[in-house]
């Protein structure tokens, strides 16, 4: 009986690996190729849950929520939006945190949001959500750079940890213009790396880009029981900002 069950399971796995259709989209393939390389990918809408607005009214602040924690022992999670001038949103090491993120992004036009998660067997799981928007979010300059307190507030923020059933949720927000540099006369100025630490041990390093909205907010989740998380934000101008509990 056990053998039959194993057989069924393995057939299902093989089928799901082979039968899943590929994404027939040149833009997707161009952007995904350097990430996926020679590895296999499967479309996995069931294990990667993506939430986007029904209509993204404010293209400067479009919330996205990704939960791929059903994929056990995943190693890396990459998010990108095909039709943004800067497609990459974030590239996260998720061996020691969960593949979960909530943040706000800018969208230049209606675009698919792609989430790619690398599992323990080196197979990429891919899921897509369409962000419907009138667009225009990438060619508008940051609003906060015009703020009088700009220099004082840069890098200040908030961090909080919430207990969920089997995990910790780390929620942070930081004051930063996240300037894309795409507006004439402005130069790019954004947080390009986030490091999540727990008692001086690095849990995750996250590469971020300027398509993450101004004064960004983040939610990450960790399986960890320990408390003392802190987050380090690095920007392309050499600043480092630390938010600690």
């Amino acid at each position: 009986m056990k053998k039959i069950l194993m057989l069924i399971v393995s057939i299902t796995i093989v089928l799901s690996l082979n039968a899943e259709d590929k994404i027939e989209d040149a833009t997707f393939n161009d952007i995904a190729k350097p990430i996926i390389g020679d590895k296999k990918y499967i479309i996995d809408k069931e294990k990667i849950r993506i939430k986007v607005p029904n209509f993204a009214d404010n293209s400067l602040q479009v919330p996205i929520f990704v939960d791929a924690s059903k994929i056990k022992n995943s190693k890396r999670m990459v998010l990108f939006a095909d039709y943004n001038p800067i497609p990459l949103i974030a590239d996260m090491k998720v061996s020691n945190i969960l593949p979960v993120v909530s943040t706000n992004i800018k969208v230049a036009a209606e675009t698919p949001l792609r989430v790619l998660v690398l599992d323990e067997n080196d197979i990429w799981h891919v899921s897509t959500a369409l962000i419907k928007s009138a667009g225009g979010g990438c060619d508008v300059s940051s609003l906060s750079t015009g703020n009088d307190e700009f220099a004082e507030r840069l890098g200040t923020g908030k961090i909080k940890v919430f207990n969920k059933k089997d995990r910790k949720r780390i929620k942070a927000s930081i004051f930063h213009p996240m300037e894309t540099g795409l507006v004439f006369g402005s130069s790019e100025f954004f947080i390009n790396k986030i490091v999540i630490k727990q008692e001086n041990k690095t849990l995750s390093t996250i590469k971020t880009t300027s398509v993450i909205s101004e004064n960004p907010r983040f939610i990450f989740e960790a399986k960890n029981k320990a408390k003392n998380f802190d987050m380090h934000f690095f920007d392309n101008d050499g600043n480092e900002f630390k938010l600690a509990l």
Partner: protein, 297 residues
């Protein structure tokens, strides 16, 4: 030639708006916008405009989302009266209330200093966004900045007296006009009658306290910024209830560490859900307000 005339006729029809002024008090009319979000089909006809016919002229309150809307409105007004539209008031900074200004070349256009500056500084941005949303219908529209500043006092236009009340809540500067001659209150977008409230520039707590003040005013007819005219003050309470629900669900969600979509999936009372456009506006509200509430709570 026949075909040319024919196609010109159709082209014109595409640009025209089907507007129906409704009389709500003596010499007082309003035109109800569709309870919809901007679309190519509705051509931006989504908000209310209103006008008062005085002895000498017409006072117009708000001008719609496009110049073509305002031109259609002008035609409708001309069917009712031959008095000139020479006084135009913009109630607040939102594009569905001022982008029609340019149809009124000879009129004085009144707004608060804040709204005047907002239109001066961001009018083009609002227009380009409108171009993206409703396309062709807005291509002939040009921004026209108000030329008269309104203060918190009586406004007398051709011997017709209006009380100007300045509030905050829906935006940083919301105008309420009380016409004591007919006991009509024009609330602008501080009131949405059975249409979900729009909150992109709102301060919910200020909005609630403003609405509580409106309840004390002496009026019989209430012309809202969106939705049907009301002859009953209960519409104010309904809006307070809606805003209090938004406020409390955001605070509760932030306290529990929820992200926007988790708050959106929480249970909503039937009464609130029944507002038209609830789904779209509620999503917009939670998303727009989330960041602000996260900073404050």
């Amino acid at each position: 030639m026949k075909y040319l005339v024919f196609s010109l006729f159709f082209f014109h029809e595409l640009l025209a708006y089907n507007l129906k002024p409704i009389k709500v008090a003596h010499n007082t009319y309003y035109v109800e916008g569709k309870k919809e979000y901007y679309s190519i089909e509705n051509k931006g006809d989504i908000s209310n405009t209103a006008f008062i016919i005085t002895k000498e002229s017409v006072i117009l309150i708000d001008t719609g989302s496009t110049v073509d809307y305002a031109l259609s409105l002008k035609k409708e007004i001309e069917k009712i009266t031959n008095k000139p539209i020479i006084h135009v008031i913009n109630t607040h900074q939102h594009p569905d209330h001022f982008l029609g200004n340019n149809a009124f070349e000879k009129a004085n256009i009144y707004a608060t200093e804040f709204v005047l500056n907002e239109i001066k500084n961001n009018g083009e941005l609002y227009l380009s966004n409108m171009n993206r949303l409703i396309k062709e219908s807005s291509y002939s529209t040009k921004v026209k900045v108000p030329n008269k500043i309104l203060k918190n006092k009586k406004l007398i236009l051709d011997n017709y007296e209006l009380e100007i009340l300045l509030f905050k809540g829906h935006t940083e500067s919301d105008l309420v006009i009380l016409d004591k001659n007919t006991k009509t209150l024009f609330t602008s977008d501080l009131i949405f009658n059975q249409r979900a409230l729009a909150t992109p520039h709102a301060d919910i707590e200020k909005w609630i306290s403003t609405l509580k003040k409106l309840k004390n005013l002496d009026f019989k007819t209430l012309v809202p910024g969106h939705g049907e005219v009301s002859y009953d003050k209960s519409v104010i309470d309904e809006n307070i209830e809606y805003l209090e629900f938004l406020h409390s669900s955001l605070i509760q969600g932030i306290k529990e560490g929820l992200e926007p979509f988790e708050i959106l999936s929480n249970e909503v009372p039937i009464k609130i859900k029944n507002y038209s456009m609830f789904k779209e506006e509620y999503e917009r509200s939670i998303i727009n307000l989330y960041k602000d509430y996260e900073q404050r709570y």
